[in-house]
Symmetry: C2
DNA sequence: GGATTGACCGAAATTGTTTTACGGTCATTG
DNA sequence: CAATGACCGTAAAACAATTTCGGTCAATCC
C-alpha cells in the first residue's frame, strides 16, 4: 500500500466532507492510517497537500469538458457545452462544491486562491478553443482571453447568480438562445 | 430649520463616513442636534431612514446617467456611457463606496438589500434604453431584461473585477471596443 | 540507519462570562 | 403636544480561560 496515495485519498475525503479549514492533519493521518509526521515527508504543509488535490480535480474537470465536446462543431456549441459542463462540475463535484460553500461563508484564503485557479482553468480552456476558431476563420479576430472571460462571467451570471437573486432558474435552452443571438452572433466571421 | 432635513443630512454624513452598522442613532441625533426620539417621529426605525437615504442616492445616480447620454446616439454608445457613469458613481460616491466596502467586509443584511436595489436600478435603466432601441428597430428583438443583465455583469467584470484579480485595469477604449465588436455587434438589427 | 511515529510546542481559535453599547420607547418637560 | 433623553432589554464587544491545531523532532521500529 502506497502511503502517499493513502494520504491523498484520506485528505480528499476530508476536504470534501468538511472543507479546508475544518480538516485537521490529525484527522487526515488517522483516516490514512499513518502517523502525522509521515504526511510531512510527502507534503511540506497542509496548504501544499490541499493544492495538489485541488489541481488534480481541476485536471479531472478539464478532461470532462474535453470529453463533452466534439471538435467538429462550431465554436458556439463547444463553448456552451464546455461552460455548462465545467460550471456543473464546479457545483456538483463534492470537493469543489464544499470549497465554494466555504469561500462564501468563511472566506478562507487558501480556498479563495484555489477557486481562482479553477476560474483560470475554465477561462483558459474557452480561450484556447476560441483561439482555434479564430485561426480557422470561423470567428472574427478578437482578444481570446477577454472574450473568454466575458463568456465565463456571463455564464456564471445566468447559471448561478440569476437563480440566487431572482428565484427561478433559466432553462439551458433560454441561455443557449440568448448567447447565440447576441454574443456568439457578434463573434461570427 | 427643518428637523427632518437635518436628520437626513446628519444620517447621510454618518452612513457615508462609518457605514450602516457603525452609525448609531445617538450619533445621528447629536449631529442633527435633535433628541433621539425626534428621529422616530419621522422614520419608524434605523433601516427605514437608511433606505430613504440610499434611494435618494439612487435617484441621483439615475439623473447623472441620464445626463451623460444623448438620446440621438446609437444604443451601444448610450449603454456604454450610462454603464460607465453608473459604475463610476457607485464606486466614487461617498455613501455607496462605503456601503460596498461594508458589504464585502461585514455583509450587513440591510446593506446587501440596498446594494441589490442599486444593481436593479442600473439593469432597469439599461433595459429601458434597450427596449426603446428595439422598438425603433435599431436593435434585434431580444429579452431586454436578460441582455441588460448580461451587459451589467460583463461591465462589472471588466471595470471592477478584472483590475482586482489581474492587477492592471483595462482602458475604457479597450472595453468599448471589446463590446462593440462582440455583444453590440450581435445585437444590431 | 532511514523511514515512521506521536508526544510535544507555541500560536491561534474557541468557549464561557462579564461588561458595554445600541435601537427603540415613553413618561416628563417646556 | 412636539420634543426630549433617561431608561429598558437585547445583542454585541471585551476579556479570560481553555482547547485545538499545524508543524517539529527525539525516540522507535524495521
Amino acid at each position: 500500500m502506497d502511503r502517499r496515495k493513502e494520504i491523498i485519498l484520506a485528505a480528499t475525503r476530508s476536504f470534501s466532507m468538511f472543507g479546508y479549514k475544518a480538516t485537521t492533519m490529525d484527522q487526515v493521518a488517522k483516516i490514512a492510517k499513518v502517523g502525522k509526521g509521515t504526511i510531512y515527508t510527502f507534503f511540506s504543509n497542509k496548504e501544499e497537500l490541499f493544492q495538489e488535490i485541488v489541481r488534480s480535480t481541476i485536471r479531472e474537470m478539464r478532461s470532462e469538458a474535453q470529453a463533452a465536446i466534439n471538435p467538429d462543431e462550431p465554436f458556439r456549441i463547444k463553448a456552451h457545452l464546455a461552460l455548462m459542463k465545467m460550471l456543473e462540475f464546479r457545483e456538483q463535484h463534492a470537493l469543489l462544491g464544499k470549497l465554494i460553500e466555504e469561500e462564501k461563508e468563511i472566506r478562507t484564503q487558501a480556498v479563495q486562491e484555489m477557486l481562482f485557479e479553477v476560474e483560470e482553468e475554465i477561462v483558459g480552456f474557452i480561450a484556447a478553443k476560441l483561439k482555434m476558431a479564430i485561426d480557422r476563420g470561423e470567428v472574427r479576430k478578437c482578444d481570446p482571453e477577454l472574450v473568454a472571460y466575458m463568456l465565463f462571467k456571463s455564464y456564471v451570471a445566468f447559471v448561478i447568480e440569476w437563480p440566487e437573486t431572482r428565484g427561478e432558474p433559466l432553462s439551458e435552452q433560454t441561455i443557449a438562445d440568448l448567447f447565440n443571438e447576441t454574443l456568439f452572433r457578434g463573434l461570427l466571421a
